[in-house]
């Protein structure tokens, strides 16, 4: 959970810096970005770009849903799941290439 907390903090800093212009507000980790008027549709694009660039993931079309992206909590859980899947995929690729190299 340590990673999730650190991710949550990074996402909060990104939101505060980019959408609240540094004016720290009292929004909570489970407050809705869209519902609270914190980000709009272009903001979602900005958030996706931040997640892809910062964490080396690809946000697929079907993952562009509020349950993944509409609060700090949702983003943290989504990222943890996504990064774990990416790490497993990378490991499988490495194993495959090692096996391939041995043949």
């Amino acid at each position: 959970m340590l990673m999730s907390n650190s991710v949550a903090q990074e996402v909060r800093e990104f939101i505060v810096s980019n959408f609240l212009y540094g004016q720290e507000s009292s929004f909570k980790d489970d407050d809705s970005f869209m519902g609270g008027g914190i980000i709009d549709s272009t903001g979602v694009l900005q958030l996706v770009a931040f997640l892809e660039e910062t964490y080396g993931i690809t946000v697929e079309d079907e993952e562009l849903i509020p349950e993944n992206l509409d609060s700090i909590c949702y983003v943290s859980v989504y990222l943890a799941r996504k990064m774990s899947a990416t790490a497993k995929a990378n490991m499988r690729e490495q194993q495959a290439s090692t096996l391939g190299g041995n043949i």
Partner: protein
């Protein structure tokens, strides 16, 4: 229950004759009495909205006091100019053609747009066509992120989701088109001491479907209070050429044909109209759904999209803000 719903598309029916005269009286008051201008410049695209505005201006101010402007550019459909001319000829008003492509080239509009496209489609170049589109959002809770559709010179199409910088770059560059058109409209307004007409309908005005200081700029907007289906009713009443009444709505901004639904609304305009009416009149989604031919969940999504776009559109509609009121002016 849906069977008890009293809402039907008829709620958008208007008395076109009475509405025409109400708008005409308002136009005469605004243009002649308030602004002291001698007539109106109307940029006509060959679409239903600008055609209706041209007809209304000619009816209200007199055909000799209306100048219709056509401002095609390299990506415009030839149909736009042909249908625009049909409007001017039907009305017997003066018209001028200003090809804005050289101005746009001078501003590097196409070059800047293509540079942005190449960040997501590296092969994009000479002979390619493009448009930007939204996914269907009515059947899913997904966020609305734009994609670009490109067509190679040999006809192959490809769709790629836009990055933030590509999206902003393409929109910023193509917005030169609407702003250049408005600049030319004001040239003629200055020359003739006319006022400039804006042509948004209610859906566009409410939802921000215009370019700030581009097609969003005008001295008066005579159909901004009318739902799109009401604009069609006025078109029929005023005698707008039938081909224009039948023409599907298009943005005519990109080289590939792009419907307004693809660009902005994700719904056929008649359904979107009814949803906007429902939202404005506090009609519950379940009650509106049967009339719109949608289910309750779909209407709830549309209501939510309307609210979200309305928030963004506030900036687009806002006049320059002052720190304090200035007295005496």
């Amino acid at each position: 229950m849906s069977s008890c719903s009293t809402i039907s598309p008829d709620v958008l029916q208007i008395d076109s004759g009475r509405e025409t005269e109400r708008i005409a009286a308002s136009l005469r008051e605004i243009v002649f009495n308030q602004f002291k201008r001698k007539g109106a410049v109307v940029g006509v695209s060959g679409g239903i909205d600008s055609s209706v505005v041209a007809f209304l201006c000619a009816h209200a101010l007199g055909r000799e006091r209306v100048l219709v402007l056509f401002a095609p550019e390299a990506d415009s459909s030839p149909d736009s100019l042909r249908l625009g001319r049909m409007v001017a000829e039907s009305l017997g008003v003066r018209s001028v053609i200003e090809d804005i492509s050289p101005i746009l080239k001078g501003a590097r509009c196409y070059e800047r747009r293509d540079e942005s496209i190449r960040t997501v489609v590296p092969e994009y170049g000479e002979g390619y066509k493009c448009k930007i589109v939204l996914p269907n959002l009515v059947d899913t809770d997904r966020y609305a992120l734009f994609s670009i559709v490109v067509q190679s010179p040999d006809g192959l199409t490809k769709k790629v989701r836009l990055s933030l910088s590509a999206y902003l770059g393409i929109v910023a560059a193509t917005n030169f088109k609407q702003r250049t058109r408005k600049m030319i409209e004001y040239y003629y307004a200055d020359l003739l001491q006319y006022a400039v007409a804006g042509t948004p309908n209610r859906l566009e005005y409410d939802q921000g479907f215009f370019v700030k200081n581009g097609d969003g700029a005008a001295d008066f907007k005579p159909i901004a209070h009318l739902y799109k289906s009401q604009v069609y009713q006025l078109a029929a009443y005023l005698g707008v050429p039938e081909e224009i009444q039948r023409r599907p709505s298009t943005t005519d901004t990109y080289s590939l044909e792009q419907s307004q639904e693809e660009f902005y609304f994700s719904l056929p305009l008649a359904k979107m109209d009814l949803c906007l009416y429902g939202k404005n009149n506090g009609i519950p989604a379940a009650e509106l759904a049967p009339a719109a031919g949608l289910d309750q969940k779909q209407v709830e999504r549309v209501y939510s999209m309307i609210e979200s776009k309305r928030n963004v559109a506030r900036y687009l509609r806002a006049a320059p803000m002052l720190v304090e009121e200035i007295e005496g002016i």
